[in-house]
Structures are given as structure tokens and as C-alpha cells.
């Protein structure tokens, strides 16, 4: 993440988009009053973080990190596969959390007949 030396357009786009996504998501999660929008916000934050994580492992002109005889001979630069594996795992986890959250929202809607946070406060928020 050393921005000083190789600050090119691509890097700035990646990091900028990721940070923008995180901020948009946080805004939705913290400010919106509808539970559905809160869940969407949390999921956007996740996407932003995933993008950031993948862009860390990116190398300029890197190819996919798949070892096969044809590729090895050309001795190419490969991108770091570890962040990609991490992001795949994190996407699955994020999916599960979103599913659970939406199930809870459905339960809350059936109970309170609304998804507005301000009207659901049997417990102190």
C-alpha cells in the first residue's frame, strides 16, 4: 500500500473506489432508518473491503496465478493468490451474514409490521 512510489491511475482508481464504497456503505448502515437499507449498507461496506483486499495483491501486468507448463515457460509475473483466496472466503461469509440479517428483518417485520428502526424499540437501542 505504499502509494508514494508507484502512484498510477489504476492504483488510485482501485483504492479510491474501495474507500468510496466503504464510506457509502457506512453512511447507509448508520444513517438510514429502514432495516433493509441498513443491511444493504453493511453489504456494500463488505464489498469495499473485498476490493481493497484484492487490489493489494495486484501486480502491474500480472497474470492469473495458475501454474501450468505452458505458463511457467514464459516466466510471467503473477498476482498474489492469497488475497484472492481470502476474498473468496470473505465473500461467502458476507453472503451468510447478509442472509441471516435479512431473515431477522423478515422476523422483525412480521412481529412489528414495519422495518423502520425508530418504531422497533422494545429493547432500548
Amino acid at each position: 500500500m505504499d502509494l508514494g512510489n508507484n502512484l498510477d491511475l489504476l492504483t488510485v482508481t482501485f483504492y479510491g473506489t474501495a474507500i468510496a464504497l466503504v464510506l457509502i456503505g457506512l453512511y447507509a448502515a448508520l444513517v438510514k432508518r429502514s432495516l433493509i437499507k441498513v443491511v444493504i449498507g453493511l453489504s456494500i461496506v463488505d464489498s469495499g473491503i473485498h476490493l481493497l483486499l484484492v487490489s493489494i495483491g495486484y501486480l502491474k501486468n500480472g497474470t492469473a496465478p495458475i501454474f501450468s507448463p505452458a505458463v511457467i515457460d514464459k516466466n510471467p509475473t503473477m498476482v498474489d493468490p492469497v488475497p484472492q483466496a481470502l476474498v473468496l472466503t470473505a465473500i461467502v461469509i458476507g453472503f451468510a451474514v447478509t442472509a441471516v440479517a435479512l431473515a431477522l428483518v423478515i422476523r422483525l417485520y412480521r412481529h412489528h409490521k414495519t422495518v423502520n428502526i425508530d418504531e422497533i424499540k422494545n429493547l432500548k437501542w
Partner: protein, 500 residues
């Protein structure tokens, strides 16, 4: 040594996903499987623990990729002690919830299946958090722990479980974001995810990255460990979840959360001032939680706030550092697991039929439910630290550790906060025994299984109270292991040389 640490995670995971199939063959298997599996795992874990005490830690390499490349599990006297404690508490929670009436009230067996499945996953994830030696693996286990905990919190349809659960999910989801960011900073700077490798090379990090990673980690882990101000989820989750789940949260989930904070500060990073930070956060957590507990009108919320207060005290003990402080903290964690679980288990039968679970509805219940009330009183006396019960020795250990480090002000604070604790617990005991009954709520007798698990916990409180030596040996060994960072690093990283 009969098994390896990986079985402690693989077997319950397999059992959890086999349960729906087993239930198709014979419905009773859904109830029986968790017990059989947990009993076997407890045997495995005790056996491994006695082996590690004699021979040092067991480091298990997964799939032949040696550290620092692959994932490894570390079963040391410290992590093994916590894993064994979690499995033991899991077994007791299973006994307590076997044919627990509210679960039987559902028409079909589907809710029962879901409960046991989630409980098994909860235990698997907690044991995984404690044993893993890889920070990304830790993230995965924390997420499994979180998702199962959300599910269990929202278990009852009638109560406000979904609301408590959503609150927990919201804060838990933000915590996982922070955790991913922290892992990303570490990986981008050091190129490794292995805890031992990070511990060796943490000094290569630039201060700005080190501090931001540390802060992000602390926020993420502090949420599970109920550290102030990240513990807003806890009182609601505890009070809305079914009784055995409350006991499981106090005995298992919080222990996993605390473990992550401790591993972070004692092994991963060596930053000046973190111990003082732990003391300050612990004291704030304790003071606020105990005052909040004092003003609660509902029994389960009071117990939840008291639980947060105890976690604050554990953080203080860890912050004191040195072997004495760590020993005191581990002793407190053990006591909190057994005593708070007993309080949740017996307390929930005392307010069983009540809708709002007010403390005032306990008036005079001592004559109607003598054994349960007695066990609740025993737990109350033990947790505030009256001799000769188990809680006395751990509180004494904290005070001695603080005195040896010359922290007189902290002793004064802990003692005055304990006074508040004494007042609100004795107030409940007073209502149980000395106030005339004025409600016409029906009472429910505990099932024999519930009674058995409560009696076991009560017996442990008395045994540890009279003969603390049964537990202190292993606690000393565990605290020495945690402090010996060099041998942790060496044991894990030397594997790549021996195999190659």
C-alpha cells in the same frame, strides 16, 4: 495421546452437519448426538491437556503445509485449558437443555434440530478460535461463532429475540469489517498470516501501520469480549436468548472473545502502553457495568451486566501482567464460566413463568423451589467472592497480583466496586428467602437433567472453594505458557525445518 487437536474441530463440525440426516433415521438421535460427541471430545481434550503439561505444546500442521505457509493449530496448556473448559461447559449446557421444556413445546422436531445444530457449531467455532494459529483462520471461526450466536439469540419467536439478534449482528458485522481491514494491513506489510511469524516480524512494521492494525484488532475483538463501549449487544442478547444459550454465552462465547484480545496483546504485538490500556478499559467496563447491574429491575439483564463487569475485572487482571496477573485472570475466567452459567441456569427457572423476568417476582420463592434457590444463592455468594467459595480465591489472586505490582488505587477501586456487586446480589437473595411471596405466578420445577447440571456446577464451586489446589496447578502452567512468547514462536516455526 489418543487424538490430535484437529479432531476437536473436525468431529463436532461433521457431527453438526450429519445431525439432520441422523434425525431422519431416528429423531431422538438429534438430541443424543451432541452429548455423545461432546463427551468424547472432552475425553480427547483432557488427554491432550495432560500430555501437553508433561511434554510441551502440540502443534498440528493442516494438509502438510508447514508454518508460516499453511494453517496450524496450537494446543498449549493455555489454549488447551480454555478449549477443555469450553467443551466441559458445552457438555453441561447440553445436559441442561436436554428435553428443556420450551424446546419441546414446538409441534415438530425441526426447532430442536436447529438448536442442537447451532449449539454444536457454536462450540466448534469457539474451540477453533482458541486453537488456531493463523489470523485469517481466526477471522473465519469468529464469523462462524457470530452467525451461530445470532441464530441462537433469535431462537424464541415470541420474545424480542430478533431485535436483540439484529443489534448483535449489526455490531458484529462492523467488527468483522475492522478485523478484515486489520488482517489486510498486516498482510500487505508483512506478507504473512501466521501468528508466530507475525510475532517474530512485528517490529518490522512501521509505527503507523502497527498502531492502526492494533486499534482495528482491539475494536474487533473487544466486541466479542464485551469490552466497553462495544458491549451494547450483550444485555439484550443474554436476556432474550433461551436460558441454556445465556449460560453458553457466559461460559463459552465470551471466553473466546477474551482469548483473542489476550493473544493479540501478549503474542502478536509488543507495543508499549497496551497493558495500561487494558487496565483502564477494564476498570471503565467494570465500573459502568456494575452500576448498570445495580439499577436493573430484570433478573437476566442484571446477570448480563454483572457478566460484563466480571469481564472488566479479567481485563484488569490481564493488564496487571506478569505471571501473577495472568494466573488471576485465568482463574477468574474459569470461575466466571462455572458460576455465571449456574446463575443463568438456576435463575431462569426462578423466573420461568414470568413474562418480564422482574427481580421483584422472586419474592419468597425459596420455600417453593428450595434446591434451585439454594443453588442460585450459592452462585451469588460465590461470584461476589465470599469465602469459602470458588470466587473468593480468584478475587484474592487479582488483589494479590495488584498489590505485588504496587497498584494500591486499583485495589481500592476493585474492592469498592465489589461492594456494589455484593449489594445487588444480596438484594436478590434477600427477596428469595426473606420476603413474603406476593405474586400468584406458577412455578416450574427444573427437569432432572437441568438439576443434574446445576448440581455439578454447584459441586465444582464448593470443591474449588475448599481445595483450590485442584485447579491452581494447571492455571499456573497455563499462565507460564502464555507469557513464554519465545517458545510459542519457536515451537510453531521450527516445524518447517524438521519436516523439510
Amino acid at each position: 495421546m489418543v487424538g490430535s487437536p484437529v479432531q476437536l474441530i473436525a468431529i463436532p463440525l461433521l457431527a453438526a452437519f450429519l445431525m439432520p440426516l441422523l434425525g431422519k433415521a431416528w429423531k431422538e438421535l438429534v438430541r443424543l448426538t451432541p452429548g455423545v460427541v461432546l463427551l468424547y471430545l472432552l475425553y480427547l481434550s483432557v488427554d491432550l491437556l495432560s500430555y501437553t503439561i508433561g511434554h510441551g505444546r502440540v502443534v498440528e500442521v493442516i494438509a502438510g503445509w508447514t508454518p508460516p505457509w499453511g494453517i496450524n493449530l496450537v494446543f498449549s496448556p493455555f489454549s488447551g485449558f480454555l478449549a477443555t473448559l469450553m467443551l466441559f461447559m458445552g457438555l453441561l449446557v447440553w445436559i441442561y437443555s436436554y428435553r428443556f421444556q420450551p424446546f419441546e413445546d414446538y409441534d415438530d422436531y425441526e426447532p430442536t434440530l436447529k438448536y442442537y445444530l447451532l449449539l454444536m457449531m457454536l462450540i466448534t467455532a469457539s474451540v477453533g478460535v482458541v486453537l488456531t494459529g493463523d489470523i485469517f483462520n481466526l477471522f473465519v471461526f469468529i464469523e462462524i461463532l457470530g452467525i451461530t450466536a445470532y441464530g441462537l439469540t433469535a431462537y424464541y419467536r415470541g420474545r424480542d429475540g430478533a431485535e436483540a439478534s439484529f443489534k448483535y449482528l449489526f455490531i458484529g458485522s462492523l467488527s468483522s469489517t475492522f478485523l478484515l481491514l486489520a488482517i489486510m494491513i498486516i498482510y500487505s506489510q508483512l506478507g504473512t498470516l501466521n501468528m508466530a511469524d507475525i510475532a517474530v516480524r512485528a517490529h518490522e512494521l512501521k509505527p503507523v501501520y502497527k498502531i492502526s492494525a492494533l486499534v482495528l484488532f482491539l475494536v474487533a475483538f473487544g466486541i466479542e469480549a464485551e469490552m466497553f463501549p462495544l458491549n451494547g449487544w450483550a444485555p439484550d442478547a443474554y436476556s432474550q436468548a433461551p436460558a441454556p444459550v445465556g449460560a453458553a454465552f457466559a461460559g463459552i462465547v465470551v471466553k473466546a472473545g477474551l482469548y483473542t484480545v489476550i493473544r493479540l496483546i501478549y503474542t502478536l504485538f509488543d507495543v508499549g502502553g497496551t497493558y495500561e490500556f487494558l487496565i483502564v478499559m477494564g476498570l471503565i467496563t467494570m465500573i459502568i457495568a456494575e452500576f448498570a447491574a445495580f439499577s436493573q429491575a430484570r433478573l437476566k439483564r442484571m446477570l448480563a451486566y454483572s457478566s460484563i463487569g466480571q469481564m472488566g475485572l479479567v481485563l484488569v487482571a490481564f493488564g496487571i501482567g506478569k505471571e501473577e496477573g495472568v494466573y488471576a485472570a485465568l482463574f477468574l475466567m474459569f470461575n466466571h464460566a462455572i458460576i455465571k452459567s449456574l446463575l443463568f441456569m438456576s435463575g431462569s427457572y426462578l423466573v420461568y413463568k414470568s413474562k418480564n423476568k422482574y427481580i421483584s417476582e422472586l419474592n419468597g420463592i425459596g420455600k417453593m423451589l428450595p434446591v434451585t434457590s439454594f443453588l442460585f444463592a450459592l452462585g451469588a455468594f460465590a461470584i461476589v467472592g465470599f469465602p469459602p467459595f470458588a470466587g473468593f480465591w480468584s478475587k484474592l489472586a487479582v488483589l494479590t497480583a495488584a498489590a505485588d505490582s504496587g497498584m494500591i488505587l486499583i485495589i481500592a477501586l476493585i474492592l469498592s466496586i465489589s461492594l456494589i456487586e455484593v449489594v445487588y446480589y444480596l438484594r436478590v437473595v434477600n427477596r428469595i428467602y426473606f420476603v413474603k411471596r406476593d405474586t400468584d405466578l406458577e412455578i416450574t420445577k427444573p427437569t432432572p437433567q437441568a438439576m443434574l447440571s446445576m448440581l455439578v456446577l454447584g459441586a465444582i464451586i464448593l470443591v474449588v472453594g475448599f481445595y483450590p489446589d485442584v485447579i491452581t496447578g494447571i492455571l499456573h502452567k497455563a499462565s507460564a505458557t502464555l507469557l513464554d512468547k519465545g517458545s510459542y514462536i519457536n515451537d510453531v516455526l521450527s516445524l518447517s525445518q524438521t519436516i523439510n
